[in-house]
């Protein structure tokens, strides 16, 4: 009990002296995680869409070769950035330009951090989006084609809205992973929450109390995102009930019907 009381008082002291540093770090972590996840999603959406463009033997040869090359590039990008640790990617990208230019060209730290996290997330999201598109029943595509939609319109109005709804949990996962994993950006000197912790304990001998504070801040951020994402999912699903339009004489009931999901049993 004594030790716990001591820890608490250390935490209070530590927070009292350095709260602004922690909060600035947390804010930087949040900015990086949110922006890079958003950019990563856009990259992933683009790559996922490219990878699922149908290509039949009847298409002309130029289109097939072009599409083949683009798909191969996307594939390599995904494999490289999914298959290597982000901490090395950061070092690689941050130090490549100064190396090749003998120090003449340097990337800005913030820019490099956003770049690395975005393209790393993009590689994961590309696979998520590809899987999400493929998991949509072929009947949705055929329904869209049957009313004259081309591939582009089918994707835009029918397939992607459903794909995005289905991959929200994965987007959430990536956001939460990014909140935590952006901590590796300290290697290139990006001043996020973990870097703040390191700076604070470097100055004082309070490693453990500071770790508790840092951990708690990370946890608060991830839990809040978790809740927000649930809300977003709910919102995308629309109302669970629908109002029967009673202006029609065929409808003799008023109020709200609720056939939720039950009718899905007839689906394929």
């Amino acid at each position: 009990m004594n030790k716990l009381a001591e820890l608490w008082s250390d935490i209070v002291t530590c927070w009292g002296e350095s709260s602004s540093q922690y909060l600035t770090g947390a804010l930087k972590t949040l900015e990086l995680a949110v922006v890079a996840t958003a950019i990563g999603c856009i990259i992933g959406l683009g790559c996922g869409i490219i990878q699922t463009i149908p290509c039949s033997k009847n298409d002309n040869i130029v289109k097939r070769i072009f599409l083949g090359i683009v798909k191969a590039i996307v594939r390599i990008y995904v494999e490289v950035f999914r298959g290597t640790p982000m901490i090395i990617q950061a070092i690689f990208i941050y130090y490549a330009l100064p190396y090749f230019s003998n120090g003449a060209i340097n990337l800005e730290v913030t820019f490099a951090a956003y770049l690395v996290v975005s393209i790393n997330t993009g590689a994961y999201m590309a696979e998520t989006v590809r899987g999400g598109i493929m998991s949509i029943d072929i009947g949705q595509t055929e329904g869209a084609k049957s009313i004259g939609m081309n591939h582009f319109k089918t994707m835009l109005y029918v397939i992607l809205p459903q794909t995005i709804r289905n991959i929200i949990p994965q987007i959430g996962n990536n956001l939460i992973i990014n909140v935590k994993d952006t901590s590796v950006m300290f290697v290139i000197g990006y001043a996020e929450l973990f870097a703040a912790h390191k700076a604070i304990v470097g100055a004082k001998y309070i490693y453990f109390p500071s770790a508790v504070i840092t951990l708690t801040i990370y946890l608060i951020m991830t839990v809040v995102f978790s809740l927000l994402l649930r809300l977003w999912e709910k919102k995308m699903d629309g109302p669970a009930n629908f109002d029967v339009a009673t202006t029609d004489t065929l409808a003799h009931t008023s109020g709200t019907y609720s056939f939720v999901k039950k009718s899905e049993r007839r689906g394929r």
């Binding site: 055929e142 329904g143 084609k145 049957s146 009673t246 409808a251 009718s263």
Partner: protein
Amino acid sequence: MSEPILQVNHLSKTFGKHEVLKDIDFSVNTGDVISIIGASGSGKSTLLRCINLLETPTSGEVIYHGTNIDKLKGGASAYRSHVGMVFQSFNLFNNMTALKNCIIGQTKVLGKSKAEAKKAALHYLGKVGMAPYINAKPSQLSGGQKQRVAIARALAMNPEVLLFDEPTSALDPQMVGEVLEVMRNLAGEGLTMIVVTHEMAFARDVSSRIVFMADGVICEEGTPTDIFENPKNEKTKEFLSRFLSR
């Protein structure tokens, strides 16, 4: 006789080594209600899907108002906006309400204004008895209701021909009636339809022509009286006797 809307010439389709359709010829005139009947696996769905270019025929051609559909302006998409299709599994857009399902094609494919499209959608949804359910998502509807919305969606495109692939096969018996009723009314109004069906009573009462298929070929073709009262082909006789004795 006027020029046919659709003409299928020497159409064949193979999947790998499996020859599913062999040298199919037939034509569709304005106002025709053609029922395609035949055993499971005889190639009925494949024929319909070839007509709508959901499958690419291996050889042969489909002529739409005198033009090969491969050479039509606007390609397959433009062609499909004139030749609608209703599926066994409905294929309503799960991310849209019944109303939106009937609007989206009109605005995004035909380029109609939102107000105009909504008006037409409400008209057709009313026609199939789905006016009270315009705000429901597909997952909130029964099978019969889904199929009626799917028919309204196809009608809202104002198609010249409507293809039906076993529209009632996925439905519980009490829902079959409500969908067939809608189709009967459409036939009565002169809509040109090609219907793949196992509903023999519907085929007999509503069709202007029956096409009987077996093993990828059209065995026999004629009026409902020809086919049901005096089938000539042995396979037709056998198929009908099995069906009618059930």
